[in-house]
């Protein structure tokens, strides 16, 4: 498990599942379909990404393909971080 994935998983466990152990969140479990985030929860997720990974989430990034599972989030953060690193290089 990468450190990004571990951080994302920790966030999901603490902030979305509240330590629930009866629900297994696989890498590709949909947050929407499993009801883990409420109708305003996606903005909470964005706040977490921007604070924890120092990335900027644009409006056009706000699609389930980027944000709706641990795998999707991990990929999204990686891509964003790399783009950020490249722009600084």
């Amino acid at each position: 498990m990468t450190s990004i994935e571990a951080q994302v998983r920790q966030y999901v466990t603490d902030r979305l599942l509240f330590g629930r152990s009866d629900v297994v969140v696989e890498g590709d479990t949909s947050f929407l379909e499993s009801g883990l985030i409420d109708s305003t929860g996606v903005l909470e997720l964005v706040a977490f990404l921007e604070e924890a990974f120092k990335i900027k989430v644009e409006d056009e990034d706000l699609i389930p393909a980027n944000l709706d599972s641990i795998n999707a989030l991990t990929q999204f953060i990686l891509a964003k971080s790399q783009a950020l690193a490249n722009s600084r290089a």
């Binding site: 603490d14 985030i37 903005l43 909470e44 389930p64």
Partner: protein, 629 residues
């Protein structure tokens, strides 16, 4: 024991106390004198002492009823509405309630027949609870009176929690306390020879009336009814004020009071220092237009946190919003200003179609008929313009949250499914024991069994109106946000929109008169056209809300909660109360402390858990001993 039961609800009636003990019965009364200040003492008897009554509330048409009864030969000793009930009961028996226009909870004891008759008003404005005890039967306006009976065990009913954490309210007769029942609105209870019967005398019905031919006719009739409902509700021997929130409904009520010729109208409102919730500008607009003598109480989040334990002492049930707290502060202001009666706009949203949930259901249904439409889901953005978070919600997420499955369209609870499903997610915080006691949640199935005959034939708009009016109105709006927080400071609310003639008239109107396209309360806006400022008539509806989680953070930036919240939400206290899972609550509390609980669900969870802990602490663990009452 009767003294103890009355003492604990002294706030409901600080003006006088009365008792009547006779044979197997003991009646008590705490009086808030409003009509016939000198002659209305209770419990009251009739001329031959063959009936005794204890009564909380008002019968607004008592003047007309009294005249009719005098014409029939009844002799009155007082000018009170209480005595009118007694004589009407002599005349008509249990059916007397059909003639009453008002808000009531009363008990009549007939010593000759050894029969007790309890009744509660049609819509549940005044509360009435009862319990079977070891030695018999007891009833009271508030549950704390019943909890003061030593033989009654004080325990939380897990099924009640399941109901609250699904549809925000308990469903009568269930209450949050095992062994205490609530008499449902529009019902009577009789007790004779040990046999108890609970029977309905009135029900909400939404069959469209073909006799109202046009919108113009409906508008005129509505205005005439509202005017008369307001006229009756101004009957009082003490000054009457009004709430003026800056919204349509309370402005209409204040305007009707003016129209009836009252020259000095005293109005009251809540102002929030958080602009997201504040409506001061609209209140000022209404005040200037109507020329009322207005006073507001400023409510800061810390104020809510400070009074919340007292608020829960009065709501007596868990709540998932802090919204009752500012209204508790408002009734305090009213009382301090020397008023004990206020007219308010409650009920308008339910009966005339004002709530967002009606609009949301309409859009979802509209969308479901063409699921591929790109345009239709965008209407959802128009739903909640006051919710910043939802406005920034990307379209893909809007679609996902409000998506309608075809099979949902036939669900009798279509309009309420998103709300109830979201609220049900809060049950993840229940402890294992509570989950086991609840078993498979049957709240929604039980509700389905209780739906009235004819419900399936009503149009979808009427169905959603019924659910709001039968559940949330009595269970939360009129109780936790209404009677309880007003009576906490000995203030009586009166609601012209809930005059049963207005309710019955509105229920028979076609849905298109109430919501035209997505314009809520269309008919009322038309009816009030010349009475209120245009800006208020045309403004986008902002539901009454108050800051939730942030109210419980200390204002010193220490990222800790106010003291009692820290204590009641500590893992030790949570484990001891046994209702919630300590580990999960701890993570939620951490999130709140960190200022990261911005979602609706987290806010509801936090307020629901804290208020439940307060109920356990105040009513079960530390219920006041006799000497402290």
């Amino acid at each position: 024991m009767l003294h103890r039961m009355i003492n604990v609800v002294n706030h409901r009636g600080p003006d006088a106390v009365g008792f009547h003990l006779e044979g197997p019965v003991a009646l008590g009364h705490a009086r808030l004198s409003i009509i016939d200040l000198a002659g209305g003492a209770q419990p009251m008897t009739n001329e031959d002492r063959s009936l005794w009554i204890t009564f909380n509330g008002e019968i607004f048409n008592y003047v007309e009823l009294r005249n009719e009864l005098i014409n029939k030969g009844h002799r009155f000793r007082t000018q009170s509405d209480t005595e009118v009930i007694l004589h009407l009961y002599e005349e008509k028996g249990d059916a007397c309630v059909q003639d009453l226009n008002g808000q009531w909870a009363f008990a009549i004891w007939d010593p000759r027949r050894e029969r007790l008759f309890l009744s509660r008003d049609r819509l549940g404005i005044r509360p009435l609870f009862y319990a079977k005890t070891k030695s018999g039967f007891a009833f009271a306006s508030e549950m704390k009176s019943l909890l003061a009976i030593p033989s009654l065990s004080r325990m939380i009913d897990p099924h009640a929690l399941d109901q609250i954490f699904t549809c925000w309210v308990t469903i009568p007769p269930t209450t949050v306390f095992s062994g205490i029942s609530e008499l449902p609105p529009g019902h009577c209870l009789t007790l004779q020879e040990g046999k108890m019967e609970v029977t309905p005398y009135w029900a909400l019905e939404y069959d469209t009336d073909a006799t109202v031919k046009s919108e113009d006719e409906a508008r005129e009739k509505l205005l005439a009814l509202l005017l008369d409902a307001t006229r009756l509700r101004l009957r009082s021997d003490v000054p009457v004020g009004a709430y003026l929130s800056g919204g349509l409904d309370s402005t209409v009520v204040a305007a009707l009071i003016k129209k009836l010729g009252v020259t000095h109208v005293k109005t009251f409102s809540v102002a929030f220092d958080d602009k997201e919730y504040d409506e001061s500008a609209f209140q000022e607009e209404a005040r200037q237009f109507l020329g009322t003598d207005h006073q507001a109480v400023l409510c800061r989040p810390t104020d809510i946190g400070e009074v919340f334990p007292d608020v829960i002492w009065h709501t007596e049930t868990p709540v998932i919003r802090t919204a009752p707290a500012p209204l508790f502060l408002l009734s305090k202001l009213v009382r301090e200003q020397g008023y004990k009666v206020v007219l308010t706009g409650e009920g308008s949203d339910e009966i005339l179609g004002g709530y967002d949930i009606f609009k949301e259901a309409k859009i979802r249904r509209f969308w479901a008929t063409n699921p591929q439409s790109k345009f239709r889901p965008l209407l959802l953005r128009r739903l909640y313009p006051y919710m910043k978070n939802l406005q920034s919600q990307p379209e893909a997420y809007l679609r996902a949250f409000f998506h309608v499955c075809k099979e949902d369209l036939d669900n009798p609870f279509f309009s309420h499914l998103p709300r109830w499903e979201m609220t049900s997610k809060l049950k993840l915080f229940f402890s294992r024991e509570v989950k086991e006691q609840i078993g498979n949640s049957e709240t929604i199935q039980q509700l389905e069994k209780r739906l009235p005959r004819g419900y399936a034939q009503w149009d979808p708009f009427a169905q959603s109106q019924y659910l709001e009016t039968a559940l949330l109105l009595p269970g939360y709006i009129l109780s936790s946000q209404g009677d309880r927080v007003a009576m906490a400071h000995s203030v009586e609310g009166r609601f012209p929109f809930l005059d049963y003639r207005v309710v019955e008239f509105a229920a028979r109107l076609p849905a298109r008169f109430k919501m035209k396209a997505l314009n809520e309360k269309h008919l009322l806006k038309q009816a009030a056209a010349s009475l209120i400022p245009e800006t208020i008539r045309k403004r986008h509806k902002q539901p009454y809300r108050a800051p939730d989680c942030q109210s419980f953070l200390r204002g010193d930036g220490s990222r800790s909660l106010v003291e009692y919240a820290e204590e009641l939400l500590s893992p030790r206290a949570i484990t001891q109360a046994g209702v919630f899972d300590a580990e999960r609550v701890e993570k939620l509390v951490d999130k709140v402390r960190a200022g990261q609980a911005i979602g609706v669900k987290d806010n509801m969870a936090f307020v629901g858990i804290l208020s439940t802990q307060l109920v356990v602490d105040r009513f079960i663990k530390h219920f006041p001993k006799e000497h402290t009452l």
